[in-house]
């Protein structure tokens, strides 16, 4: 995909080589008029030669300038945290930042057209495959020169998450958060529960909670994605990280025995999950936990802890998903990483890179995390002074992992994640053996159309 050999030739804009959506549509109009077919082919063949970077002045020390920053931090709390990050970035780099906030669902759905149209100079995005997918299509600017400066701040795991498939950096991380089992300390102490470390203890605890008239697992999947996390963790516990990533890349078929085992394992605890999950939004199930009607909830701290009121937050605690297969212990978890990308079509690349250099420091992360009580910074050894117990525990639990996955919708092609959302909702409604096998067949059939 990447022919990195082509050097940026002077300051010539690559208008002719970049084939935009608009050009393509014009080409299509040509097809409709049965006229411009050869021109279209010519245009396509030249699109491969797009130069790798249009601005060669990648070094920092750009005094002043303005950039716009496309943000999907549309909820009030992260929006405020992001605003304070931008303010301190401006004071450090002298680059004025205008933030354009979009509702995160809309932002993600429109990312393709956004990056091809007139994107902001920087944008919020997700690490891992979900970034590589767009980098490989030539929609992002590599930021290796930024990483020359900030490389010391991050460990290898964070570095790998920020690299495209071609080995260049395309991403600067800001924070991550763990997917773990949340519970209220007061519930556990008043009923005498202990934190389960094995699957059997986990199931026994769920049974006990049901007897005690608690919903063992608060559970919601109307939004589609929350249940993907349960699939991820059971797969990693049962079959390991490598298997999970191979499955995400469709190097292992969805009809594999390992996948059947995941669904069977999940079916064991499904009777203890909150009923009617497919009609409930996750915020409502987090409320069930906060109201102490439920005993546990498996979801990201970015959701559960963020949704807790300040008064109840001190009662919240978590444990990592219990061991299923001793071969893998608790070596892996989903810890999605969020950060920033530099769109290829950004106009002020030098200023944007200067801001990225600042963002990739522990200081910037500390600023962002001042008002954030659920995420953890990625800089090496960063323990922000504002960390609460949950964040401190999250840092140490993530650090214990041999590998962290990102989340199904970030580790595989977005289309495949969409397909799995539907199929897993069907599993939640009907976890019978026959339905599991038809789910696997449908997943494999759809994967074949998506991965070719």
């Amino acid at each position: 995909m990447s022919d990195s050999g082509s050097a940026p030739t002077s300051g010539r804009p690559d208008v002719t080589t970049q084939l935009s959506r608009r050009t393509a549509l014009k080409g299509l109009a040509g097809v409709a008029g049965l006229a411009a077919a050869p021109a279209l082919v010519a245009a396509c063949s030249s699109s491969k030669k797009s130069s790798s970077s249009s601005s060669s002045s990648g070094t920092s020390a750009v005094a002043g300038g303005n950039i716009t920053f496309g943000s999907n931090y549309s909820d009030a709390a992260p929006k405020a945290a992001f605003a304070s990050l931008c303010t301190s970035a401006t004071s450090k780099t002298g680059v004025k930042i205008t933030v354009n906030t979009t509702d995160h669902n809309t932002f993600q759905n429109n990312i393709s057209s956004y990056l091809q149209g007139t994107p902001d100079d920087l944008a919020t995005w997700f690490a891992g495959y979900r970034m590589q997918f767009f980098a490989a299509q030539g929609l992002l600017t590599p930021v290796d020169d930024v990483w020359d400066k900030i490389g010391g701040t991050f460990n290898d795991a964070a570095k790998n998450l920020s690299k495209g498939i071609d080995g260049k950096y395309y991403f600067v991380p800001l924070y991550n958060y763990p997917w773990v089992v949340f519970y209220n300390k007061s519930t556990f102490s008043s009923k005498g529960y202990t934190v389960p470390t094995t699957w059997d203890q986990f199931v026994t605890l769920a049974k006990q909670m049901k007897k005690d008239n608690l919903v063992p697992f608060a559970f919601a999947d109307k939004d589609g994605w929350p249940a993907l996390g349960t699939f991820d963790i059971i797969n990693m516990r049962l079959n390991g990280y490598d298997y999970h990533i191979k499955l995400m890349k469709h190097e292992v078929p969805w009809t594999d025995k390992g996948v059947t085992a995941v669904f069977n394992q999940w079916a064991e605890i499904l009777p203890y999950c909150q009923k009617g999950a497919t009609g409930r939004i996750w915020q409502d199930s987090a409320k069930t936990l906060e109201n102490k009607q439920a005993g546990m909830m498996f979801q990201g701290s970015n959701q559960v802890a963020a949704n807790y009121s300040k008064a109840n937050l001190s009662d919240l605690d978590f444990f990592v998903y219990p061991v299923i297969n001793t071969q893998f212990g608790t070596d892996y978890m989903d810890a999605p990483t969020d950060g920033f990308i530099l769109p290829k079509k950004a106009k002020n690349q030098a200023q944007a890179k200067a801001v990225l250099e600042y963002v990739g420091t522990g200081e910037a992360e500390t600023t962002f995390l001042k008002t954030d009580a659920w995420d953890t910074g990625l800089a090496n050894g960063l323990v922000a002074p504002t960390y609460n117990a949950i964040q401190k525990k999250a840092v140490s639990e993530i650090a214990k992992c041999k590998n962290v996955a990102q989340f199904m919708d970030r580790d595989t092609v977005p289309d495949m994640a969409t397909a799995m959302i539907k199929l897993i909702q069907s599993f939640i409604d009907n976890p019978s053996a026959s339905n599991i096998s038809s789910i696997q067949k449908s997943a494999e059939a759809q994967a074949k159309t998506i991965f070719t």
Partner: protein
């Protein structure tokens, strides 16, 4: 046509020879006619025919919207699994996948049909009933009229959100009133694939009935009261008066309502999209939602989405053709 142009011709033209006068228009008239015909024709071509044709052409390609489309057949390169290749010609593969692999397709067709059926059998007659009752001048008819029309003034997106609060499993109005909001006995209105389409259809009918009511009320007001008086004098009861006298005179408005009903059910989209937050819940698949999901999603499958669009177009053509056929046949008579 000829006679009208004759009238419009300025007096100077009348002194010319008759043959020319009948055939030609003045230069100004010709420009006006060309403009009046040309502009709508251009708009029609640009905004209806071109997109429709482009959709049909795109449905034979595989394209993510990034880069152009190569005019060669797709080959599975397979070097980087899952990463999109440049656009290419995919033949009828998209159709094949839609009919066989894509799990949303057949449910979507079925749900569109159910939607249409419910509108024709339930929502539209309900609206007509409201209109007839209100037209009889019952006490407080203005209040009822406003109340029933209120949902029409709300956007469908807002209606979706209002009803989502009503249907929410633990905290929703309906389950609370029914006493079914516990975690063991709750009714999963929007999540249960056997239930949610009907729950959404209640929302849709709530609005559609008001819409039809207003259209029909306008028609009823225009009926000549003398007709009714004559029917009553002849000894017809209310039932007979409506079905034998009023209903037949409302034929034009009936046709409008039928067309509105068919169009509304084929373009059903907003409520499901809002309720599902983009990714359609099981049981709520609709063709229009599938088209949007594939074309507007994070990775755009423009070729595949266009295929679904073409299927929706073909389905829509059936009632449209039937309607036009009816309308033109009557004109010919």
């Amino acid at each position: 046509m000829v006679s009208t142009t004759e009238v419009k011709n300025p007096p100077a033209a009348t002194s010319r020879r008759r043959r020319r006068r009948v055939r030609t228009l003045t230069r100004r008239d010709r420009i006006v006619v060309a403009l009046l015909l040309g502009i709508p024709l251009l708009l029609d071509l640009a905004f209806v025919w071109f997109p429709a044709l482009a959709t049909v052409l795109l449905s034979f390609t595989k394209w993510t919207g990034v880069g152009g489309i190569h005019l060669k057949a797709c080959t599975s390169k397979g070097t980087l699994p899952g990463l999109p290749q440049p656009g290419c010609i995919f033949g009828v593969q998209n159709y094949n996948q839609a009919f066989t692999v894509y799990p949303d397709f057949w449910p979507a067709v079925r749900h569109n049909a159910i939607w249409l059926l419910v509108f024709i059998v339930f929502a539209t007659p309900l609206g007509m009933l409201f209109a007839v009752i209100i037209d009889r001048g019952i006490r407080g008819s203005r209040v009822y009229q406003s109340l029933l029309f209120l949902p029409v003034m709300l956007s469908l997106a807002l209606i979706g959100i209002i009803w989502e609060l009503i249907y929410a499993p633990n905290l929703g109005l309906l389950n609370t009133v029914l006493g079914r909001n516990g975690n063991n006995n709750l009714i999963n209105w929007l999540g249960d694939p056997h239930l949610n389409l009907w729950a959404i259809l209640v929302e849709a009918s709530w609005r559609q009935a008001g819409y039809v009511m207003v259209l029909y009320l306008a028609g009823l007001k225009a009926v000549d009261p003398a007709l009714r008086e004559a029917a009553i004098v002849d000894g017809a009861n209310a039932w007979q008066t409506f079905w034998r006298v009023v209903f037949p005179t409302l034929r034009p408005i009936n046709i409008v309502i039928l067309v509105v009903t068919v169009i509304e059910s084929l373009r059903a989209f907003d409520l499901v999209y809002i309720t599902s937050k983009g990714n359609p819940l099981r049981g709520l698949e609709l063709l229009s939602v599938s088209v949007t999901q594939n074309i507007v999603g994070e990775t755009q499958r423009i070729g595949f989405g266009s295929t679904l669009g073409v299927v929706l177009l073909v389905i829509s053509l059936v009632p449209i053709t039937a309607f036009l056929f009816q309308a033109f046949r009557k004109e010919d008579r």
